[in-house]
């Protein structure tokens, strides 16, 4: 029974994906893509990956969706550039080849679950995924934060020269309608609470810095769309401090660990959990702000309210 459900879910995801890549109108394609993201989140939940599911829904579907919707606005439909039949044949071949590859994966599957479970208690964390992200493979996480920061730098670098220090354009043109402002007033506090919970719970239960940051970013964007807060200026010193807090907080913790535990990105023995918690808070704040700014796009001038 559950296999039937899984098969159905898989087909649904693939169907949504197909709709997204075949839709003629950009807007329709993006909406199909957002639906695909939600369905994919479902698949992740079925794969015993609640952390990934949360991330996929918040980022892969939610915030990516906002970004893509903005890109699709006013974009004309472009005719396909290649021979569709040939492309379809290649794509089917790719899918079949990959299917053959996954079916050929060895049995029993190699796994690091045992290693991770054995090493987890030393970190004081209960959620093995958080453990991998912040303790075992903290280098990846540090770099991922740098990637995020760099994406923002890249987005900002697209500004026109004299406008580089200003505020971004509003997300969607025109004033926000009153109902959405009301909705935002209700939703934002709830969302912030959810975000905070995800951060707090992430150490031991599904959730964590990224999921929390993404939720907070979504709330922030909602508030900005509703006009509840002014658009941030790119050269605001406090804002930049928050941006740096995450990656460089983690880096600082890494050096602290080097000094106390003898290895870069190790955590001080006995203080693993508190240090990780503090770093997570900094990361969450940075992620939330970076996501908001990345979504808002390059600064577009001084005269925005």
């Amino acid at each position: 029974m559950s296999l039937v459900f899984d098969a159905l879910a898989g087909l649904l995801v693939a169907g949504a994906a197909l709709a997204a890549v075949t839709a003629a109108a950009p807007r329709a394609a993006v909406i199909a893509f957002m639906g695909y993201g939600v369905l994919l989140g479902l698949a992740w939940a079925r794969l015993a990956a609640p952390d990934v599911a949360l991330t996929e829904i918040a980022i892969g579907s939610g915030i990516s969706g906002i970004v893509l919707l903005r890109a699709a606005a006013g974009l004309p439909a472009v005719p396909p550039a290649a021979n569709r039949a040939l492309a379809a044949a290649i794509s089917v071949a790719v899918a079949l080849g990959l299917a053959a590859l996954v079916l050929a994966l060895p049995e029993p599957a190699p796994s690091r679950a045992a290693d991770a479970a054995a090493a987890l208690p030393a970190t004081g964390l209960g959620n093995p995924v958080t453990g991998v992200l912040l303790a075992f493979r903290a280098l990846d996480t540090l770099l991922e934060k740098i990637v995020l920061l760099l994406a923002l730098v890249g987005v900002w670098a697209l500004a026109r020269d004299p406008l580089w220090r200003g505020r971004p354009e509003p997300l969607f043109a025109g004033a926000a309608p009153a109902p959405s402002a009301f909705l935002a007033r209700v939703l934002v506090p709830i969302g912030v609470l959810v975000g905070a919970y995800l951060l707090w719970a992430g150490a031991d239960a599904p959730g964590g810095a990224f999921q929390s940051g993404a939720t907070l970013a979504a709330m922030g964007l909602l508030a900005l769309m509703a006009g509840l807060a002014p658009l941030p200026r790119a050269d605001d010193r406090r804002l930049r401090l928050v941006l740096l807090a995450g990656p460089f907080g983690l880096l600082a913790a890494g050096f602290l660990g080097w000094a106390t535990a003898g290895a870069f990105l190790a955590f001080p023995p006995g203080f693993e959990k508190p240090v990780i918690k503090i770093v997570e808070i900094a990361i969450t704040a940075s992620i939330a702000l970076t996501l908001i700014l990345v979504v808002l796009g390059p600064p577009a001038g001084e005269e925005r309210p």
């Binding site: 550039a81 290649a82 021979n83 040939l86 492309a87 290649i90 071949a93 790719v94 080849g97």
Partner: protein, 551 residues
Amino acid sequence: MSGFLTTPPLPISVAPEALLLLAIAAPLALALAMLAPGLRRLVPRLLILAPLPALVAAVAVPRGMSVLVAPYPFRFTLALDGSGALLLGGAALLWMAAGAYACAYMRKDPARGAFATWWALTMAGSFAVFLVADVASFYLAYALVSFSAFGLVTHDDTPEARRAGNLYLALTVLGEAFLIAAFVMLASGTSEANPLIRDAVAALPTSPFRSAIVLLLLAGFTLKMGLFPLHVWMPLAHAVAPVPGSAALSGVVVKAGVIGLLRFLPDGVALPGWGEALTAVGIFTAFYGVALGVTQTHPKRALAYSTVSQMGVVGAVIGAALASGLPGAFPIAAFYAVNHMLLKGAMFLVAGLAMASAPARARQAALIAGVLGLSLAGLPFTGGALAKYAIKIVVPDGIAGFLLTLSAVGSALLMARYAVLVTASGKERQTPPGGILLPALALAALALAVPFALFAPVTGLPLAAAFSGDALAKGVWPVALGLALAGLLAWRRWPLPEVPAGDILHAMGPLAALWRHTLDLAVAADARLRRWPVAATALIALAALLAVVAR
């Protein structure tokens, strides 16, 4: 054999090693001095003196001396052998005379500084090719002389000079490719990454790549010498350079190809087939150069074709030596080359003198030109006759020998043509720049005299051998016949249509069209490949292909 080849005429005991290095370093230092604004004005004058260490080295450094300048892993080694000493000494004399000539000739040229730089670099490279003894340094020296000469060719920056320069550069790069391939194969026969040329050549006869190496060496070096069909650049390039530049190009730079063959082909070892082939190409070139040269209407182009023809003779001599495996033949080829070097240098200087003079003066210059020409054609009692006599040792009587003798007829004819063109090249109301007369005369005198000093040491025969009745008879008839032919042609008002310089280049139209087609094809293919759907498909296809082959 004794004398010049084995022991220096004026041996010195003080630091002969340093002298070898100084021979190359002196002109290089002058080129570098051009970078310093304070020294720049002095350089052109000093260029006259720059060849002095090379000259001293040629006459004073013990033969066989070798200096390891930079030890392993570079093995930058200099060495002086008989052939090298001959060419080095001759080149030094030519560079000095032509340098003095250039100093006066270019006095008013605003770009004389640039000319001086290229001059010094070409000089350094030319001395270096005669002196270096390891393969990698030879490649470097050869590249230095070849690429620097480009600056001499294109100095006047006329459309013709640009065209000639581009062709020269293209063929030079091609020649470098031939040579690096040959050198890599040669070096693979030894245990060293950068062997001495001597060791590499010793391994040549047994190399598994022997044929490929010899073919590439011949292609690379005969390109520089201007042997048919790789001569196309020479009439263009030598005619467009400023007069002293032409003298250096035709006199010295082409000899880089000669020393290349002498160094990299085994002396005294027969390479059956290759020797005959080189002889055939050489003899054909000797006649071909004459045939096209006599149609020319400009003295410098006629001289350039004469160089083609003469290098054909040198090629034939080397080919004959390879065919027979006669030991000790290579210095004779070098001797012939030195004779040509000095004569051709002097001829260009004299032609330049005439072209810058009033008609009366030009007629006087034509007299000298005629004497030089007769020497080149091998009239008895001239230096050229000694050179012609010497090569008979290598190329005995027979078809090849007869044809070479016959080519002297052509030389005489071509030289007559040159003298006539010189006569006609004066223009009213012009006076040559002061100071070009003396170097031209000096070089002419040296060109006529030096072979007498070298004949005996090089051939091991007494000078009198060249003056035997038999030798005289053999020397006179070709010249007489050539002059008679010239007289006949002159009487008929020279009814030969001028063949444009570069001759077969003009028949290369289809080749050029093919190249343009290739270019268009590549651009179109590139444009297609760079379209997104094509590139994206290629990416997937590449992944699939790799996955299939890497099973």
